[in-house]
């Protein structure tokens, strides 16, 4: 069994008009066995900046903690919140440091610029190659299914209300198709917009198809 599917998990982020959304599942399992359904995979790194980590659970926790450490130092030195693009470079650097013995995670970043509120999403591979997109990013064990759902549901410049439905719906459907994420809670950090984050939606997925 592959290391990336040992614990399983999935994260995705979508971009809308002046807002972004990030969502993940909450299952922590060991191969076929589920251990808990409230495992955190999305971590706040600023008022309007979140990182979601999919992959090996131990690395999810280690990377998020080490990243927070570096981010705290940055904020103390700079005296301001980090920009999403800079944060992406910080993550990329942290991952490439382990080029020959990598962290087994695939991060997804979603956030708004602290000053201009410009939306930003990106994903990276396990050794830190950044990929910035205009529409959506996905990573995890059901990436293929997520690509399918996002591709069909996403439209450019979606207003917040329409956006609120799209992200959860695509989550539920693709989760139900993968045994390592299905039947877990999914956790949406809600829509991040310039008025702040709206709502933390947590619910259990049921079969919808």
């Amino acid at each position: 069994m592959s290391i990336m599917s040992y614990n399983g998990g999935a994260v995705m982020a979508m971009r809308g008009k002046d807002c972004v959304a990030i969502a993940s599942d909450r299952r922590f399992g060991v191969q076929a066995q589920m251990v808990t359904t409230d495992f955190q995979k999305i971590f706040p790194m600023g008022d309007r900046l979140y990182i979601g980590l999919a992959g090996l659970a131990t690395d999810v926790q280690t990377v998020s903690q080490r990243l927070k450490f570096r981010l705290n130092l940055y904020e103390l030195k700079e005296g301001r919140q980090i920009k999403p693009k800079t944060f992406m470079s910080m993550v990329s650097n942290l991952l490439y440091e382990r080029r020959f013995g990598p962290y087994y995670i695939e991060p997804v970043i979603a956030g708004l610029d602290p000053k201009t509120f410009e939306p930003f999403i990106c994903s990276l591979d396990l050794i830190g190659c950044p990929m910035v997109t205009e529409d959506f990013v996905v990573s995890g064990t059901c990436a293929e299914q997520m690509y399918g759902m996002c591709e069909s549901l996403w439209e450019p410049d979606m207003e917040r209300q329409a956006f609120e439905m799209t992200c959860p719906v695509s989550r539920i459907i693709e989760f139900d198709r993968m045994s390592t994420t299905v039947d877990s809670k999914w956790d949406s950090k809600g829509i991040i917009s310039k008025d702040g984050r709206c709502g933390n939606n947590t619910a259990s997925s049921k079969s919808m198809i």
Partner: protein
Amino acid sequence: MALLDVSGFGAHSDLRLFGAAPKHFLDPQNHFTFSVKRQEFAVPVGVDPSAFLRSCSREGGVSIDLNHGTTTLAFKFRHGVIVAVDSRASSGSYIASKDVNKVIEINPYLLGTMSGCAADCQYWERLLAKECRLYKLRNKERISVSAASKLLSNMMCGYRGMGLSMGSMICGWDKKGPGLYYVDENGTRLSGRMFSTGCGNSYAYGVMDSGYREDLTVEEAYELGRRAIAHATHRDAYSGGVINMYHMQEDGWIKVCQEDVSELIHKYRKGMF
């Protein structure tokens, strides 16, 4: 046509008479069936199936990954036999279907469950259903649970080592009362009071063992079966979907219910989510 098949007459018997057919074209003799006709599968010329299938399951080479994901259970109690199964079919980590029926209704007094390779289970249990029907037609009485499970077990023995994967429970009610047998692809055939198969079986055993008593009422037994499958599907990634539950009574089986596991697990673990 049917009579011709049943009596074993046909082109094949001519081949045998004249010794024209080379031995390796036909399957080796199997004695699982009471009828004359042999079971035959198309086999490539000069290929030995066991050697070929052994190479397919070896690590490192090409590996045919047969799906094993499921949870099924059955237990005997005072008022008959309860059979409960989940309904998920998985291929690797992809969920192929969420509403497969893993119980085959052989006849109104016999049920078979399926776990392991879906194709193997469906084929061999349907073949078992055919043999049970033939038995009834020839002997004018229903086949016993013991004989039915023996037929299936002999079928498995005939193909032992060739990579079949099947874990099945044959449940029924015959002259001797309620019957429950476990049959698997090695030819194991065990009679017992309680079995569970599939990769979620350990979770189901835990719940069943804690709640089982011989003198359960019918409603309590239904609840026990429901709980065991629900908890197994909750923990096991390869089980899920709906619970299909059957109750084998003296005058035949009844289908008790078909319930979604996610709704059930919310009921049982209120406050956990």
